[in-house]
């Protein structure tokens, strides 16, 4: 547990049997979380719209397994970006009774939750489960640029080059952790990077 309150907690996917529509956005190993959570709810698959991007799990071919469970609609996406485009279009026209689920790496969950928030969905009603890498999406607080798949700290900002200490401090709106200059007072010293978020 982090001492920083904004550090998100992902309680795990839990099927809401009362939902009229299950809108599920899964990335990579998040497919396994979906299969496990919905294993005990066979009826739910017929009310499911499932969006999946394999990410680093492409060789495992989870997409065939998911499709084999016959969700009402299945959309396979090459990247997280294209998945988010479709998810936002679906959220635009979704009605109440729709429950949103996100599973996969933190960056993916964060983007799904942020999209939900932008559509008026309370973050507490979004079911989330973290699977796969601990890599973080980081915003540089100095130049405001985003860096994806960060596994080390400090990490050089991909935009302005400042070495950033990656904090647990999280913005739900930006779906990113905060990166702060690690050597503002001693610019000559750059501590060695450690791999913290593999």
């Amino acid at each position: 547990m982090s001492a920083i309150k904004s550090r998100p907690i992902y309680p795990g996917l839990k099927v809401d049997e009362r939902a009229k529509r299950h809108l599920v956005a899964a990335e990579g190993e998040g497919a396994l979380a979906v299969l496990e959570a919905f294993a005990d709810a066979p009826d739910a698959w017929s009310r499911m719209t499932l969006l999946y991007t394999p990410g680093g799990s492409a060789p495992a071919n989870h997409s065939e397994t998911l499709q084999g469970r016959a969700p009402d609609a299945f959309h396979l996406h090459p990247t997280r970006q294209t998945l988010m485009t479709r998810l936002n279009a679906l959220l635009d026209t979704a009605t109440m009774g729709t429950r949103l689920y996100a599973a996969g790496v933190e960056g993916h969950i964060g983007e799904v939750v942020a999209a939900g928030l932008a559509h008026g969905v309370d973050h507490l009603s979004i079911r989330t489960e973290h699977r796969g890498s601990l890599a973080r999406r980081v915003q540089c607080v100095h130049c405001k640029g985003f860096i994806d798949d960060v596994t080390i700290s400090p990490v050089p900002c991909a935009h302005c080059g400042v070495p950033l200490f990656v904090r647990d401090h999280y913005s739900r709106r930006l779906a990113a952790f905060q990166g702060v200059s690690i050597n503002a007072e001693t610019p000559d010293e750059v501590p060695a990077s450690e791999e913290l978020y593999k």
Partner: protein, 320 residues
């Protein structure tokens, strides 16, 4: 004062809105503007009936544009312990009352994309304020207002003028009822529902919402309970070393205050949780009437909300 800052006010106008509802316009005694509040807020009004103090929460209807006055609406309840009866029979223009600072336990969720406001009877008072705020913000909203008959609808004309066809009325005498199967389907994702009214109506609407797959985070209600009277009993305030009697027409909190102890409170209607008090022991059965503690907490017998709950038995020992 445990309830926070209090504001002495003068009643500037009393209006008989319906046979059973009066509207009171209140101005600060100091002549200064009253604090602004967010829609859904209430104040606790202190009434002094020949030395007997009563405090009731009332939702704020509105605040004059220049901040000079608040309006509250008071329903005369048949089994009133005295509060609403006092307001109806004894309070006239020119009289003084004391109100607390506004407190909001029923706020609008500002990230919502649409808002369904559902009111039954006097439950219209917070809904009235919320509808006005949503209109000012050009937000998307609907008002569903249920009443016995048109004559008992306390705010129909004002609401109709302000909200036009966003207002839908349901009259019991015309066999019209707010039906969840009509108002809930096809609402856009991000819709929030707010309901205030009789207990049965609130329960039915909330259940309908959950059954329709709405998340709990999107369902909001407010119910102020009048503290039910009951059998008299003794209360021992262990830390203060005081024993007091709770009369049958008195709430536990009122008896504690009468004994001279400044106990915590805020809403005085079982909703906010401020008056939660530890029970040391009790000889009898706790009668929990609040909406704040969980069922497990009620069953544990370790806590009580002094504003609306009491003891059926001989003696209650509190950590106060």
């Amino acid at each position: 004062m445990s309830g926070g800052v209090e504001i002495p006010v003068r009643v500037v106008d009393v209006e008989q809105a319906t046979q059973t509802v009066k509207r009171f316009r209140l101005a600060a005694l100091s002549g200064e503007p009253l604090p602004s509040f967010s829609a859904g807020a209430h104040v606790v009004v202190t009434m002094d009936d020949n030395g007997r103090r009563m405090r009731n929460p009332y939702s704020l209807i509105d605040r004059a544009d220049d901040g000079s006055t608040y309006r509250i609406g008071v329903l005369r309840t048949p089994n009133s312990r005295g509060g609403s009866k006092f307001m109806h029979e004894r309070v006239n223009a020119g009289d003084q009352l004391v109100v607390t600072m506004p407190v909001n336990l029923f706020p609008i969720v500002r990230t919502g994309r649409k808002h369904l406001l559902v009111a039954g009877g006097i439950g219209i008072t917070p809904i009235y304020a919320m509808a006005n705020e949503l209109r000012r913000r050009s937000a998307s909203y609907e008002i569903h207002y249920a009443m016995r008959n048109e004559a008992s609808g306390a705010f129909i004309d004002e609401l109709r003028a302000a909200h036009g066809d966003r207002l839908k009325l349901y009259r019991d005498d015309m066999q019209e009822f707010v039906s969840v199967s009509q108002i809930l389907p096809n609402q856009p994702l991000g819709t929030h529902l707010y309901v205030c009214g009789p207990e049965g109506m609130i329960d039915a609407i909330l259940k309908g919402g959950r059954d329709a797959g709405w998340a709990d985070e999107n369902l909001h209600s407010e119910r102020f309970l009048a503290p039910a009277g009951g059998e008299p009993f003794s209360v021992v305030l262990q830390r203060a070393g005081i024993t007091a009697e709770v009369r049958s027409d008195q709430s536990l909190l009122e008896a504690i205050e009468e004994a001279g102890v400044d106990a915590p409170f805020l809403c005085r209607g079982g909703a906010c949780g401020q008056c939660e008090t530890a029970v040391v022991s009790c000889d009898g059965k706790l009668v929990h009437n609040d909406h704040f503690l969980t069922e497990e907490e009620h069953a544990s017998g370790k806590k009580i909300m002094t504003c609306v709950s009491r003891l059926k038995g001989r003696e209650l020992v509190l950590d106060l």
